[in-house]
């Protein structure tokens, strides 16, 4: 299910625009999160998710323009809870994650950060663009995953926890022999 927040309304007042410090806080959080995953500090990264967090990457399909969405209603590449993310992390930290042995080198570029709305409980709907570069071994080529990312962040002290992450990758037929990295 596509998150209810689908787009910034160009005619509406951008709730983030009046509060640059809020956007800056959100950016700081997302940059830290990207840093942890690129540095392969997966246990620390996992702590940034709320206990009931969800992590979803829908399947991209190619449909005619009139069909509206180019995302599968039910299909997912990732359909994780914090519990299953923890299994993935546990595996990566074991000696037997062959697809990451030797590890991929990833770099997450997070940009176009927009605070779409603020809930009464302080939860933020955040939309951003993400480009993930991935290279492995001595391969002279790389994989690139470009995605539309929607996060629901809940405040915790002077930072946040990710309550919901949803990312739609822009490619329907992916490269990379396996997707063994987090997007």
């Amino acid at each position: 299910m596509t998150p209810s927040v689908t787009a910034s309304d160009p005619s509406a007042k951008d709730p983030g625009a009046g509060d640059r410090s809020l956007v800056a806080m959100v950016e700081r959080f997302l940059f830290l999160e990207a840093e942890l995953v690129d540095d392969r500090r997966f246990e620390a990264w996992l702590e940034l998710f709320a206990d009931d967090a969800t992590y979803e990457v829908p399947l991209r399909v190619t449909r005619e323009a009139q069909a509206g969405s180019q995302l599968s209603d039910r299909g997912r590449m990732f359909w994780d809870s914090k519990e299953t993310l923890a299994i993935r992390v546990q595996r990566l930290l074991s000696e037997y994650a062959w697809a990451e042995q030797p590890p991929s080198r990833t770099r997450h570029f997070v940009s176009n950060v927009r605070v779409i709305s603020t809930g009464e409980d302080g939860a933020l709907e955040v939309r951003s663009n993400v480009l993930v570069y991935r290279n492995r071994g001595d391969e002279p080529t790389h994989d690139l995953y470009s995605a539309d990312r929607r996060d629901e962040l809940v405040p915790l002290g002077d930072s946040f926890r990710i309550h919901r992450r949803w990312m739609a990758v822009d490619q329907s037929n992916l490269t990379g022999n396996s997707l063994s990295v987090f997007l």
């Binding site: 599968s72 039910r74 990732f78 359909w79 062959w98 697809a99 396996s178």
Partner: protein
Amino acid sequence: MTRTSERSEERERLLDRVRSDLPAGRLPAEIFNSPVVFDLEQERVFSRVWLFLAHESELPDPGDYVLRSLAGNSVIVARSESGDIGCFLNMCRHRGNQVCKASEGNASHFRCSYHGWTYTNTGQLIGVPQIRTVYDKTFDRDDWGLLPVRTETYAGLVFGCIDPDAPSLDEYLGGFQFYLDLYLRPGPNGTEAYAPPDRWVADVDWKICAENFAGDGYHTPVAHQFGFQLGYYASSASTHAAGYAVHIPGKGHGIGLGRTPGMPPFFGYPDDVVALMEQQLTEEQLSIFRETRTAVGTVFPNLSLLIQPFSTVPGEPGLRFCTMRLWQPIGVGRMQMLSWCLVPTDASDEYKREAYRAYTLAFGHAGMFEQDDFDNWSRVTRMAGSPLSRDVSFPYLMGLGHEPLPDFPGPGVAVQPYVTETNFRNLWQTWFDLLEQP
């Protein structure tokens, strides 16, 4: 020497190597990354056999279509207004433009965006712009429909074949249906694809995957060691070899049926699905499936299915998911992967959802088991392309000379244990019989 004769000499050298290796339980490594083998396979294997196209549930309503590839051809698989499923080359008969550009959708007609020829979803040409002014009266639209492709169906699976003289799908499957029913007939309404397929391109030779899924229980405790180590997988390295390997001689199809001694019957299935299976399947089928932990099989040449329990809590039974995958060669040492999750149509929505989630975690492009496999397979492919691999053969010696089980309840040739290479020798012999046939 001309290029043509060089090419045919290279073909003969390679075929001779396979011909002398096979009876000794060997196979040349170079077949897993070879331009000569790629061309031979396109010409002599994929143009002659039944190839998987789509699951009927992907086309639930009249007008639904999916775009697929059949032996290197882009084809439309569509359900017509009368409910029949047909398949056509995705090429306008006028100048060859693609008439369909989406991977899925619903349409009563396909209109070419070049000169406007328009076809029904049964492939019939019904619209030709300015037909009265630009063509004379002898022009007959019936002569210029989309090129049809022969299709047949088994238990919801639609197959296509470009050889008009090939035997029927039923004959082609040759008794393998007995085992396919475990995946495809878990209830009176069979299965449905939970979602469209995951699609990705990999630097892997398709044959490595087809062989692995024809029952390679040997790799599991090593390649997927994390699952054993962390307790997410209901088997242990010491008991993993138990079970059967079954193949259909001369047809290439093979299945591995792994058992875990002491495992409760139908471990990991919900009770309502078990009740339906017991009504639906024969006693011979049930006697095998009741005790099966892992069922991993390949329909020759490149369609595979797997049922396996997977747990998100170490040590718990977890639940069964079923994946179906198509390994399509698209170049030398390169393939297009399509991977579906099938769920029993009659199961609860909750079970379907949880089975799909288990699939995404274990298989699918980001699945943890999938990741291990594709990493290994890409390295096998790379090495098979080394110049020195021309001097290397792989052993296919496990179970060579073992007698088949005399009283196995299912068709084909069954051997014990599950970990063996009997199925693979049959797969390679079938492949080679086609390859050497001009």
